[in-house]
Subunit: 119 residues, 10 copies
Amino acid sequence: MSVSSPTSSEFEVVKNEYSDRDYDVKISIPEFTCVCPRTGQPDFATIEINYIPDKLIVELKSLKLYIQQFRNLGIFHENVTNKILDDFRRACKPRKIDVIGRFNPRGGISTVVEAHWQE
Amino acid sequence: MSVSSPTSSEFEVVKNEYSDRDYDVKISIPEFTCVCPRTGQPDFATIEINYIPDKLIVELKSLKLYIQQFRNLGIFHENVTNKILDDFRRACKPRKIDVIGRFNPRGGISTVVEAHWQE
Amino acid sequence: MSVSSPTSSEFEVVKNEYSDRDYDVKISIPEFTCVCPRTGQPDFATIEINYIPDKLIVELKSLKLYIQQFRNLGIFHENVTNKILDDFRRACKPRKIDVIGRFNPRGGISTVVEAHWQE
Amino acid sequence: MSVSSPTSSEFEVVKNEYSDRDYDVKISIPEFTCVCPRTGQPDFATIEINYIPDKLIVELKSLKLYIQQFRNLGIFHENVTNKILDDFRRACKPRKIDVIGRFNPRGGISTVVEAHWQE
Amino acid sequence: MSVSSPTSSEFEVVKNEYSDRDYDVKISIPEFTCVCPRTGQPDFATIEINYIPDKLIVELKSLKLYIQQFRNLGIFHENVTNKILDDFRRACKPRKIDVIGRFNPRGGISTVVEAHWQE
Amino acid sequence: MSVSSPTSSEFEVVKNEYSDRDYDVKISIPEFTCVCPRTGQPDFATIEINYIPDKLIVELKSLKLYIQQFRNLGIFHENVTNKILDDFRRACKPRKIDVIGRFNPRGGISTVVEAHWQE
Amino acid sequence: MSVSSPTSSEFEVVKNEYSDRDYDVKISIPEFTCVCPRTGQPDFATIEINYIPDKLIVELKSLKLYIQQFRNLGIFHENVTNKILDDFRRACKPRKIDVIGRFNPRGGISTVVEAHWQE
Amino acid sequence: MSVSSPTSSEFEVVKNEYSDRDYDVKISIPEFTCVCPRTGQPDFATIEINYIPDKLIVELKSLKLYIQQFRNLGIFHENVTNKILDDFRRACKPRKIDVIGRFNPRGGISTVVEAHWQE
Amino acid sequence: MSVSSPTSSEFEVVKNEYSDRDYDVKISIPEFTCVCPRTGQPDFATIEINYIPDKLIVELKSLKLYIQQFRNLGIFHENVTNKILDDFRRACKPRKIDVIGRFNPRGGISTVVEAHWQE
Amino acid sequence: MSVSSPTSSEFEVVKNEYSDRDYDVKISIPEFTCVCPRTGQPDFATIEINYIPDKLIVELKSLKLYIQQFRNLGIFHENVTNKILDDFRRACKPRKIDVIGRFNPRGGISTVVEAHWQE
C-alpha cells in the first residue's frame, strides 16, 4: 500500500482574536500511530504540540485529519516529530512552538523526541 | 435558546486586608461547561485562575455565578480562556493573573489554553 | 482501501506442556486500532485475552500479526470483541476464555465490551 | 427556562449480532450535568451504564444526545439514576442492567447511587 | 465547653420514589471531626454511609448538619461509628446499612471501624 | 460560642543549634479546620509552613496547639493564611517563610492561598 | 543487648459498648521494626490487625507500646505475625482476627504473611 | 554459554513453627530475568509465589539463589511459571500454592501466567 | 539503655574513578529510625543524601551501618539531618551535598528538614 | 564465566536529518541488569539517556544489544553510568548528553547516579 506524506496544506487556520497577547495553546494527541520504515510494524505515540499563536490558530478537526495521514506511513521517530513541527509552523506561523513525541516501548526501550522552534 | 455573554460586572469584590504584601490566590474550578459554537455540543473544562491581589479580592460565590453563565454560551476554547482573564482583571485589578483552561478531549485530542497578564 | 477480515487461520499454536493442570494465561494488547464503520475515523482500544489452555497455546508473535490486521478494518466495538473471542477459540480450543475490549472515549463516552466463553 | 424530561424514545437501537451469548457492555459518561431542583445550582456526575444486551444494542451517539437533555433539567441524584435505568431498559430490553451515578461533592459530601435490574 | 450529643431527630427525610426496587446510596463525608475523650485533642476521619433505602431517603443537608454536631463532642472511634449507624437507621429505617469510619493516624497507628446492619 | 483569635505568644521556641547554616524546615498540617465567617459552616484545609530558621526553631507541639485554636474561629481563607505567617514570624523571627493554605472545595471551587516573607 | 519477648499482658482492654453487634476494627501500623535473627540487621514492616471484638476492645496506646517491644528483638517474619495474632487474641478474646505483616524487600524479594483465626 | 536448569534441590527449608494453623505467605520477586528460547533475547518478569505452608517453610535466601539460576536459561513464559510451581512444591510440600509470572511487554503485548495447585 | 552517637569514622570510602567530571549520586534510605529525646518514643523517616563526589565515594554498606547506629539514639529532627550532613561531608569531602529528612507525622503534623552545603 | 566489557564500537549510527536544529532525544531502558563486583549478585536498574544529536543518531536496536552486554559484567553503579556516557558520546558525538542510572534498592537503600556532558 503506497502512502504519500501529509503536508502543511492539510491544516485549516482561523484568525487569533487575542493576538495582542502572548498565550499558550497545548494540544495532546494520545492516539498517534505510524509505521516503522525498517520492520513495517506499527508504532504508537502520544504527540504533544505547544505553541504561542501569532495571527492564526490551527483548527483542531483539521489537525486530527492531518495526524491520521501518518497512519500507514513509514517514518522514524526523530523525523516524524520534526516534520510535524515544520508543517505546523508553516501552516499557522506561531511565535514559538514545541513538538514532543512520546513513543511506546519497543524491545524494552521507549523514546521521547522533543523539537523546539522560536522566532 | 439565546444566551447573553457574562461580564465583569457580575463579580463582587471585597477589600484585600493584606495588600501591603504580594501573595498568591489560586482558584480551581473543575466544573466548567460551555457549548461548542460550531457543533452546538457541550464542552467541559477545568478553569484555573491564579492571581496576586492588589486592593481587591474576588468573592468566591460571585465567581461561581459568573462561571455558571457560560453554561449555555457558544464560545471557542481560546476565547473563553482569554475572556475570563479580561473580565476578572477588570473586576479586581490584580497585580498579576494567569487563567488556564484544561478542556476535555474531543476526537481523541485534548487542549489546554494558558493566558497571562502582569502589570 | 479494501480490507479483508482476519481469520483464525492466522494463529500459530504450540503444544501446551502443562495440559494436565488448569492455569491462566492473561494477555494485554494496549496498541489495538481499527476503524469506525460509520464515520471512517480510527478507533483505539486495549484488548485483553484471558484463557485456560487445553492442548494448545497461541504463539504471541502470530497473535500480534492477527491483531494488526484490524488496523484498516471497519468494525463495531461489540463485534470486534466477540470476533476475537471466536477466532482465538477456534485456533487453540481453550477450556475457558474471556476477551475484553477497552475502547478510548468518543464524544466524552468510553466503552468496555467483555465477552466470555467456557466449556 | 422550561425543560421537558428526556424519554426512552430518544434512543436509537441496532441489532445485537452476538445475542446467542451473554456479554457485558460497560459505558462510562464522565460529562453528565443536570440542575439541583432545590437550589437551581448545576450538579455534575459520572454516569456508568453496564448491561448485558439481548436482541438490541443502544447506539452510542443517541445515548449521548439523550444524556445531554438532562443539562438544564432539575432532578434529584436518586431519581436521575433510577430514571436512566428505566429509560435505557425500555429502549433496548437488556437481560441485565446496572446504572451508577457518581455525583461531585456538595458541602463536603459526595454521593454515589447504584440502581440494578435483572430479568 | 459543654456539648450535647446529636440525635436521630436531626435528620430530615424525604419519600423514596423508587421504593419498589433495591438500590444503593453511598455517601462519603471526608470532613468529619470530633474530640478524643481521653486527651481532649481533635480527631479527624472520613465517614462513609452506604444504605439501601426503604420508604425514606435522608436529605443531605440535614445529614451535614447532624455530622457537624460531633465537632466538639468527646467520643471514641468505635462508639461514634456505631452511634451514626443507630441514629441514621432510626431516622430513615433503611433495608440495609453500613457505616465506616476511617480515622487519621495517631501515634503512627490508623484505625478503621466498620459497622453493619441488615433487616 | 465566642472565640478569641490565637496570637504569636502561643508558640514555644527552642535554640537553633545549626544557625550558622541556612537550612529549610517544611511543616505540613493536613488537619486544619476553622469556620466560614459568612455562613458559620466549618472549613477544612492543609496548612504548609516552610521556613529557614535564624536563632530559633518553633517547637511542634506548641504549633499544634496554636493551630487548634482556629477550630471555632470565623475567618476568611486569605486572612488565615496571612495571619499564620505573621504570628509564626513574630514568634521565631526566621530568615525566610512561606505559608500555604490549601482549602477544600466549596460549591465546586477549591482555593489555595500562598503568602511569602523574606528578610 | 538482651531483649525479652513481649506478651499479651502488655495490652490494656476496655469494655465493648456495642457487643450485641458484629463490627470490624481494622488497625494499620506502618512503623513496625524488629531484627533479623540470622543477620542481626533491622527489618521493617507494616502490621495490619483486623478483628471483630466480643466483650473487649484493645486500647490503642497499649497496642503501640506492645508493638514497640519488638524493636530490638530477633524474630522471623512468619513467627512475628503469628505471635502478634496469639497475643492479641489472648488479650481481648475477639470473635475473629486476621494479622497481616507486610515486610520491606530484602535482596530484591518482599514478603507478606497473613494469619487468620476465627471462633 | 550452556546453562543447566535449576531444580528443587536448590531450596533450603526450615520447620514451620505454626503448622497447626493455615496461614498465607506471599512472596514477590520483581527482579526475575531469563532468556527467550527463540530469539535469545532477555525476558524480564515479576514472579509472585503465594503458599500455605504445611510442615516446612522455604528459606528466602535459597529462593533468591534458585531464582537467579534462570538468568541465562532459555525458557518460555508458560513453562517457567509452571516449573517454579513444581520445584517449590517438591521442596516444601505446601498445602496450597499459586505462582504468577507477570512478564514485561514484547512487541506491545504483555503476558501474565497464573498456575495453581492445592492438596 | 545508653547509646553513643555515630561519627564520620564509621564510613568506608573508595576512590572516585570519574573525579574529572561533576556527577550526582542520590541515595534514598526509607528505613531510618531514631528516638524522640523528649518522649522516648521512636521516630521514623526517609533520609535522602544527594552529593557530587570529589576524590572519594562513600561505600553503601558502611553508610547502612552508620545509619543503623541512630536506631536507639535520642535526637531531634533538625539535629539529625544536619549531623548526617556534617559526618558525611567529613568522611568523603564532596564538592556539594544536600541531606533531606522526611519524618513521619506526629500529632497530625509531618516535618521535612533540608540541609545544604557547597564548596 | 569471563565477560568482556562492551565498547562504543557496538553502536550503529545513522545520519541526523534535522542537524540544523537542536532537539532532544530521551531514551528509557527499564530492563538494565549487571552484576555487583563485590558480591557477585545481580543488580537491576533503569538507565535513561537524554541527548541532543549533532550529525549522528544512535540506532535503537544496536543500543539494546550494547546494553545487554552488561548482563553478566561485574561493575559498580557509579562506573556503569559514567561508562555508558563515555561510550555513547564516542559513538555519536552528541552536542549534549545526560545518563541517569536508577538502581533498585539493596539493604533498604536505593541509589541514582546522574552523569552529564556538554560541548
